[in-house]
């Protein structure tokens, strides 16, 4: 089905996911409109990371449906390449390719997957690296970069595929506090440019700052959701209140 | 196509025609005798190589520098030279020189070819075992040994009660691999006419011209032998396993 901007760009309806006998997602429904920034928060084991990985078809679901820009993600015959062109993902452990330089990391996918012209891609890649404020580091190998720098290269690498939706899976959890800020600034710039972002994060201050809507998950279900103002200050559900009181 | 014909020719199963080793009593007995010899060779070599390994590892920890150097040279020599050449060295070189006068007045070898095979293989595998045991002993952390000392154990008690049991469990995977390799290496005894499995099979197929079948039987036998050994080692490892620890 074709997607029009008045429909949600990412839509999850009653998603159930189990790992063997353990049910991790127990009926999750989320709608994200184009340009929105969504933050998913919750305690460990609540299913946040699993949820975001299902959107990108890294995990399959047992029940429910996930639609990204008209594509049925849970369809067994899904063209994964088409999905990955629309959705970019950044991981907690950056996962840069250690045997390639920063520039090569960013350039690899457009050249080999999208078959784009090399010179064009290089120019665009350098632009992206400059955008994440890492000019001068194009020739550095991931081993020579700090955690925050590697994470920013990872963001640039995903952006090189020109996605419509960006997924961030706890991207600052493995970083030192000093470097967390530089990554968050990069994400903030992206959001300001109108990129649809779905973040799983622990950074409450950041969520309050940029999110259009915050979702709280606990034990596989969405307990509460709402814009940051109401969510953080006037949480309704006791579980949300308990979680927030522990964090804030 | 020619190639296809050649391949089909090569693979054609004439099992029913020429598996004399099963059908003929005489051949079967010879094959089984070869199998028994092989098992004897393997068991003896494993046993002596373990002894060599334990002694070597113990000497490696000796305070005397000369001893350590000697064991080091022994291990380096056996690890970096071909086992076949070592076997020839023992059997042809040392074996020829080491002769005694037999009953009929002619010089006879002191040790039979089977004996030399056991000696050469035991030393070869023993050298590898020395390294394995030594690494196992050293993998036991100093803090555990110190704790035992603080409790009043003597050095010998520590070695016997604490270090050795842990070292054995740690070494088991590498030791298992080495012993399996040893069983495979015993095939070299063919070169000095020890009547083990390969030698007997070669005799049978030269008499009966059923090379293909014999080779297949041989390969299956070897895989079976190795599988048995792997199973035994697996059971031993399981029996020694400490619940909750290790990988």
């Amino acid at each position: 089905m074709t997607w029009t901007p008045d429909q949600p760009i990412v839509s999850l309806k009653d998603v159930h996911k189990s790992f063997g006998t353990v049910e991790v997602l127990r009926g999750v429904s989320i709608d994200v409109m184009k340009g929105e920034v969504i933050c998913i928060i919750g305690p460990s084991g609540s299913g946040k990371s699993t949820l975001i990985r299902c959107i990108n078809a890294l995990n399959d679901i047992q029940k429910g449906s996930i639609t990204v820009e008209g594509l049925e993600v849970n369809d067994a015959k899904l063209d994964k390449l088409a999905l990955r062109k629309k959705v970019g993902m950044v991981f907690q452990q950056y996962n840069l390719f250690p045997h390639k330089t920063a520039l090569q990391n960013v350039m690899m996918a457009p050249i080999k997957v999208l078959r784009q012209n090399r010179a064009e891609v290089e120019q665009r890649a350098r632009g992206l690296i400059a955008k994440v404020r890492l000019e001068g580091k194009e020739a550095a190998y991931p081993g020579e970069l700090s955690g925050g720098q590697q994470q920013r290269v990872a963001i640039a690498r995903s952006l090189a595929m020109n996605p419509d939706v960006m997924l961030f899976d706890e991207v600052t959890a493995a970083l030192d506090p000093e470097t967390v800020k530089e990554v968050l600034t990069t994400i903030k710039d992206l959001a300001a440019e109108g990129m649809t972002c779905i973040l799983v994060t622990h950074e409450m201050g950041f969520a309050r700052e940029i999110a259009d809507c915050v979702y709280f998950t606990d034990r596989g279900v969405i307990v509460e959701s709402g814009p940051p103002a109401t969510f953080f200050d006037k949480a309704q559900d006791p579980r949300t209140q308990q979680f927030l009181s522990q964090i804030l | 196509m020619e190639l296809a014909n050649t391949l089909i020719d090569w693979l054609r199963p004439d099992w029913f025609l020429n598996l004399v080793v099963f059908s003929d009593n005489y051949y079967r007995d010879r094959y089984l005798a070869g199998l028994v010899t092989k098992i004897q060779l393997s068991v003896l070599s494993i046993f002596f190589s373990l002894i060599v390994g334990i002694i070597g590892a113990a000497v490696q920890g000796a305070p005397s520098r000369t001893l350590r150097v000697l064991v080091g040279a022994f291990v380096a020599f056996f690890r970096n030279t071909p086992p076949l050449v070592q076997l020839y060295f023992f059997f042809f070189a040392i074996g020829t020189v080491l002769r005694i006068t037999g009953e009929n007045g002619l010089p006879q070898p002191l040790v039979s070819n089977f004996g030399w095979a056991v000696i050469a293989l035991s030393l070869f595998a023993g050298a590898l075992n020395t390294e394995i045991f030594r690494a196992g002993i050293e993998a036991v952390p100093r803090s555990t040994v110190e704790a035992a000392e603080a409790l009043g154990y003597t050095r010998l008690q520590i070695y016997r009660e604490i270090v050795l049991p842990l070292a054995i469990r740690i070494s088991l995977p590498a030791l298992g691999t080495n012993l399996v390799n040893l069983v495979k290496t015993t095939t070299l005894a063919y070169a000095i006419a020890v009547p083990e499995l390969l030698y007997v099979s070669a005799q049978i197929w030269s008499e009966d011209l059923n090379v293909r079948e014999m080779m297949n039987v041989l390969l299956v036998s070897y895989v079976g032998l190795v599988a048995v050994l792997v199973w035994v080692l697996h059971r031993w490892e399981k029996a020694l396993r400490i619940p909750g620890y290790g990988e």
Partner: protein
Amino acid sequence: MSMIRQDAKAPGHLAVLHPMRLHASALPLAERMFNLWTFTALILALAAFLIAPAFAQDATPDDRSIVAILLEWTPTLAGGFAFNVLISILSMAIGTVLGVILGVLQVSPISPIRSIAWLITQFFRNSPWLVLLFYCILLIPFQIEIGDTTIPFPGWIKATIGLSLPVMAYMSEYMRGAILSIPTGQWESAESLGFSRRQIMVNVILPQTVKRVLPSWMNLYAVLTMATPLVSIIGISDVMTLTRAALSAEGRVDLLIPMYLYILCWFFIYCYPISAATRRFERRFAVNT
């Protein structure tokens, strides 16, 4: 779930019962076991063995010394040794290529392919090298005709193929271990970027396995070189055949020990540096991973 330290140890995991990493501790052990002192000891022992038989009681009254005889035969033996080295290099090349392919097949997501690859690997791993050599020398046809061309298979080629089979099996195992040791994050991020499985394997995973496999690969070469004398048993003329021919030509009892020791030394001098370099690489690469 979102552990910051993703390598958190399982409960009850005591350092004392780590599976023994023979590699990581091998260098200090080997340094202590083999150094200048042991090398000197070996050389002295060798010299003693070479010289002593000259004084043996039953030495035939021949005016040539042992050392002279050895030197006289050296060019011939060197040729034989070079042949062994040639066989080892060719076998290694063939075995490596086949082994990498087989290793990649062993991690295939298609179950039957995985099983067959595993079976082939286990089969050639558990067969004695000598038996595989016999298999090849007896059962490979002496020539194959493809279309118009006839490809001859001289004996030594068959022997080379025979030796490459266990190399293939060992390489397959090493590759499988190396591929499985690459963090899954690499697969996932490459998959998220839209790479196909083949692209991921070729561009991301295999280049990273090279470093991890290198020490084992070098060790395998040393083991292979030490296995090449086996070809003398199946009738290929290599350094061992020449040695025994030389010994029977000279017919001197006191030559036996020195000559065999001489050949052993050659192999030692060729293989020991490889082992030493292997240990050094292991240490260097282990630190990086």
